[in-house]
Symmetry: C2
Subunit: 328 residues, 2 copies
């Protein structure tokens, strides 16, 4: 939203951690012998599905909301989001007692829209295109003077998302690799900032659905490539990689690993049955990437950020059926 | 299996805790603001779905297996079980390196049968009646000299199941009520033994599916009433209440609360979406009972044992659909 925003650094992640501490959970870290055996790696899961609003997104939204001066905050915040960021901003705004407007694309996950409304935000519907979302967002911003908080390019959001890896690496500095889902790149970039300071020898891998692989193509070309129409069950990863995020991730020498929806559903089912944790499809991309790239991870200590757990249970039968039909 | 078995007491629960400590997990305790708000009570969940094999049943089976003298243990163990006890005994027997035979009724949950085989037990199929199960079990016992470990009347099993409440009450002695699912009564009776010693003023409630309400009828009549054909989605609670269990529970002045399958599925969905924990239908009976009896629990500190998390994902669409159709 603000092309001149400064690139956040590790100090911003530390400041975010202090700022959100009264509001956000320090999420637990989970292990699974069964998944260690399946992957051949030593997996450590950061349970962000147990974060408030059921996703890491609360960290960034909370940091942004509490970064605002009182008079600016009072005018409210506005964003566009397919779901978790909208819920996160709504919840953070309610925590500060300020208005929140959320632009949501038609076709967004029903459970996530219900959550946004539950937290007291005003919903504004638009067509499911980036252009339509941003236009309505700008219109609302002009009408209300609310502060726009972009879901993943806002530096305050990136710094906030980095606090998940900050917590993980503070207690698990010996990880060889860290795997996070890649959508717009907010979590990925924040994670990169924390890793640079706390675990410089740990390698960052980005798990991306093949049906929204603008990240993989951008890395391959060396420049942003947004020319795609998302086609994946990973509703949290359909956004396009942000420019600031791409810069941070290239500097971090991150590597993109793509996975298809069948692999994602298989990994999600493994997480459900082996760890009893209800994570959403976007979260399962990371484990799917580890299982699909055994040579990269075997015998290594691998951190995985389970990014969220907001599953639309009514859509489950279709989700499972789609994945089954797609199998050979 | 042994009508002359002694009734277990609190010391047996303590001994069980020491015996299973090297093998079982001390499971975490979970809270949920959202479910507190919904119920009007202060809920504390004991997360037995995170126990080994995904259910509290590992505690009792483990205690039974490690109670055996070496020469007796070497002949193996045998049981009949619709699922979790079979998996638990198989896993415990593998831990001790002894054979395990499990008699399973036709129609048992596929995911649970797969688990039993995964843990290395020999499966023996029979018709889905108590008589057929017990006959085949006796036949196997005669042929192998294996020790029979009944799923819920064995005193070693009851004492082992009591260790879940022992852990919970050791850190949460101030609970006003404790709600556990009621099937055969192994968990319920073990819980009663722990409560008597650690929280004598805490009231014990037993959540039972209306489609397998032999417990409610037995309490109403003052004697065991096994005249029913189970009809419930709670596959872990279809067994008939044991005599020894009934005695312990009457002494404890426990109260049965019945819930129907629609209430169970609704409570299960709440647990999934609000806590992100994948618990099985049988586990959700306890929360369902709390939500259906607000007057009993409002404003009180209520412990709930989440008994297991072994859900058959392939059966989910049917499960959800059945519950929806049954709604008015």
């Amino acid at each position: 939203m603000n092309p001149h925003a400064p690139t956040p650094c590790f100090d911003d992640v530390l400041a975010a951690a202090a700022r959100i501490a009264p509001h956000a959970h320090v999420t637990p870290v989970l292990r699974s012998r069964a998944l260690d055996a399946l992957s051949g790696a030593g997996l450590t899961f950061k349970a962000e599905h147990l974060q408030r609003i059921g996703a890491f997104k609360f960290r960034g939204a909370c940091n942004a909301v509490w970064s605002l001066a009182d008079d600016i905050a009072a005018r409210g915040v506005v964003t566009h989001s397919s779901g978790n960021h909208g819920a996160a901003l709504a919840r953070a705004a309610r925590g500060r007692g300020i208005p929140c407007h959320v632009v949501v694309p038609d076709g967004a996950v029903r459970a996530k829209l219900a959550a946004i409304e539950h937290y007291g935000a005003m919903l504004h519907h638009c067509a499911p295109t980036i252009a339509a979302r941003e236009a309505l967002c700008a219109q609302l911003q002009a009408a209300t003077s609310a502060t726009s908080v972009h879901p993943y390019t806002d530096p305050r959001v990136i710094a906030g998302q980095g606090t998940a890896a900050l917590e993980l690496l503070t207690t698990h500095a010996d990880l060889d690799a860290l795997v996070v889902p890649l959508g717009g790149g907010g979590l990925a970039a924040g994670t990169a900032l924390a890793m640079r300071a706390l675990a410089p020898r740990c390698r960052l891998y980005l798990a991306e659905p093949i049906g929204a692989a603008d990240g993989a193509r951008s890395f391959a070309k060396g420049e942003l490539d947004h020319d795609f129409v998302p086609d994946t069950i990973c509703d949290g990863l359909r956004g396009t990689l942000g420019a600031i995020n791409f810069d941070i991730l290239r500097t971090a020498n991150a590597q993109v690993l793509t996975v298809d929806d069948v692999q994602v559903v298989a990994a999600m089912r493994l997480l459900w049955t082996r760890t009893k944790q209800l994570v959403e499809p976007s979260s399962a991309t990371a484990l799917a990437a580890v299982l699909a790239n055994r040579a990269l991870f075997e015998g290594r200590r691998v951190g995985i950020i389970l990014s969220g757990g907001n599953v639309d249970l009514d859509a489950l039968p279709a989700l499972f059926a789609t994945a089954t039909e797609a199998q050979p």
